[in-house]
Symmetry: C2
Subunit: 354 residues, 2 copies
Amino acid sequence: MMTNSITAKGLNERAQHLLKVLVEHYIRDGEPVGSRTLSRDSGLELSPASIRNVMADLEELGFIAAPHTSAGRVPTVKGYRLFVDTLLAIKPLEQQEIHLIQQKLTSNDLNQRSLLASASTMLSAITRMAGVVTLPRREYIAWRHIEFLPLSEHRVLAILVINEGEVQNRILKLDHSYDSNTLQQISNYLNTHFTGKEIHAARAELLNELNRTRVNMNNLMLAAISMAEKVFEGQGRETGRSYVIAGETNLMEWAELSDVEKLRRLFDAFNQQRDILHLLDKCIAADGVQIFIGEESGYGVLDECSVVTAPYSVGDEVVGVLGVIGPTRMAYERVIPIVDLTAKLLGAALNPHK
Amino acid sequence: MMTNSITAKGLNERAQHLLKVLVEHYIRDGEPVGSRTLSRDSGLELSPASIRNVMADLEELGFIAAPHTSAGRVPTVKGYRLFVDTLLAIKPLEQQEIHLIQQKLTSNDLNQRSLLASASTMLSAITRMAGVVTLPRREYIAWRHIEFLPLSEHRVLAILVINEGEVQNRILKLDHSYDSNTLQQISNYLNTHFTGKEIHAARAELLNELNRTRVNMNNLMLAAISMAEKVFEGQGRETGRSYVIAGETNLMEWAELSDVEKLRRLFDAFNQQRDILHLLDKCIAADGVQIFIGEESGYGVLDECSVVTAPYSVGDEVVGVLGVIGPTRMAYERVIPIVDLTAKLLGAALNPHK
DNA sequence: TTTGGCACTCCTGAGTGATGAGTGCCAAAA
DNA sequence: TTTTGGCACTCATCACTCAGGAGTGCCAAA
């Protein structure tokens, strides 16, 4: 046994360094790296044979693996994990990149949705992978404004504004027909009662009202309540967490994902939203960049992908998560600061007080 | 020379029949079909050798081609074209399918956008290809309602409703700050002047007003006009024709599109929207189902796809196009009536007078 | 005009062997 | 004790060949 030997507890300097160089190499070229290459590029003055000894140990401990007997080694998930956690040298962003991100997140004066979309697109463009941004959710959803417009007999357009300018709209089909004036009165009633209140509280209050005084309530009041209730029915669905994704097609350029069947499953998962959303929701609790490597995510479709996420906040409330999805052999040292910065800047851009 | 010979003018009965059977076969199996198969399945009592004579003629005239010497024949674009135009027996839809389409297009009471999305999804699900629906555009865009809500200093949320309940919203950054009351007055002013008018006319009128009386105009009036103008700036972009696409991933299941590089270009085109939109816009003039087979579309990425479209109307104004994108060897006899019916039903579902 | 026969083409898939990259192990050197 | 050169070994890859089979074109006979 060597005194300097590698134990389960930790790797010695040399082993760590070699693992680092190996992972970096593999991320660059995507091809298994062998002892000769490592000997040449590691900076250590070691022969391939010595390197092989270390590699054998690294393999035994599960940090690297050989696709087949006479190929070089490839990092395992465990290897990437160690690399990312302790060996990685984060590369500070170029001034130019910072500017680019800043610009894409501020030059936009349309609305929130389009801001999120452009964040997602920017992430995908700058990393050449797929970018995702969840829609922000608030614990506290403030009733801002409601408006009803008559469309035709029995059909009314309802427009609900919540929080800082999130607009939802929906067509209601009603039993009675209301004229423009009545609708105005209804919305006035609702707005004066509920503007600024929390929306679930408002709903509860409405339901309460409805049950309590069903008998001696005037028509208008009843109409107002049932109409608002109809709006709420749709509320859950519309707001039901979802995300904006961009640049999925970038993933087709990575050789390790060039299998059509795998791509199909991956893209289906993107469209389905369910699993991806689940994963992203987990990250909302983390207080910084979080990384899922390969199978770590726990969703089969992502087995050959890594996901780098960061939560973003408005004010001091964490409201959403954004990130990047790409192959496990992505350039973490670049992606991590990009995701980190984007989260911070998006939060700032969404902040209403500016 | 045969008396019954095949001329450039037209094919004789037999040749047409054999072409039809060949195309049907190829659409079913996706594999080149040979003379033996045709002899067996054509219903004609002909030996493979006789069939071969006909096939040689069909090939010379460019209706079919052989991928290589000892493979069967495959329809060319010209072959598909003849098949679709004159040989195809449209299969009437099953009652069950009609119900399905009807249901997907009516069970929806949210808003226009989600109706279009569900039409697109339904098309893709029922055909196992990609479904597209362009957003409806109206020649005549009616100003319906405008509303301004103060968000913070200098930031105002503008909500513009046009036509039958299409809602657009946008955040305006302004020089002055306005209180809720003033904004109310402004929107009142705009709504009373413009509700029901054509939106471009309204804009022209506004600009006119602005130039004419810039000097002796009261503050409110000026604010109203410049604010409306800000809304219009975004108008073009938002409304600028686009489409809803669904089920792109279905295309990955077709063997002829299993090349990742091709798929990438195709999906990029879907995201880009430009070319596809161009193509769809051409179909708005046709008065029924229109079909582009392979290179006929003129866009390289679609060389191995066919596009089946139909315009849809609200009232008696054609407002959009919907359709299906799939491999050239799609089941036209099924797809055509599906697209046709969907266009009719979507038009009906969008009709405001019901 | 149709058909059987036949030579021919060419894709496909299986098998082969050479090449080369990379390994593990061992004994000698440092 | 650690490092290293040497060496046998493994295995993916590639080019090559070869048999099998599907399908063709052509021709002469029916």
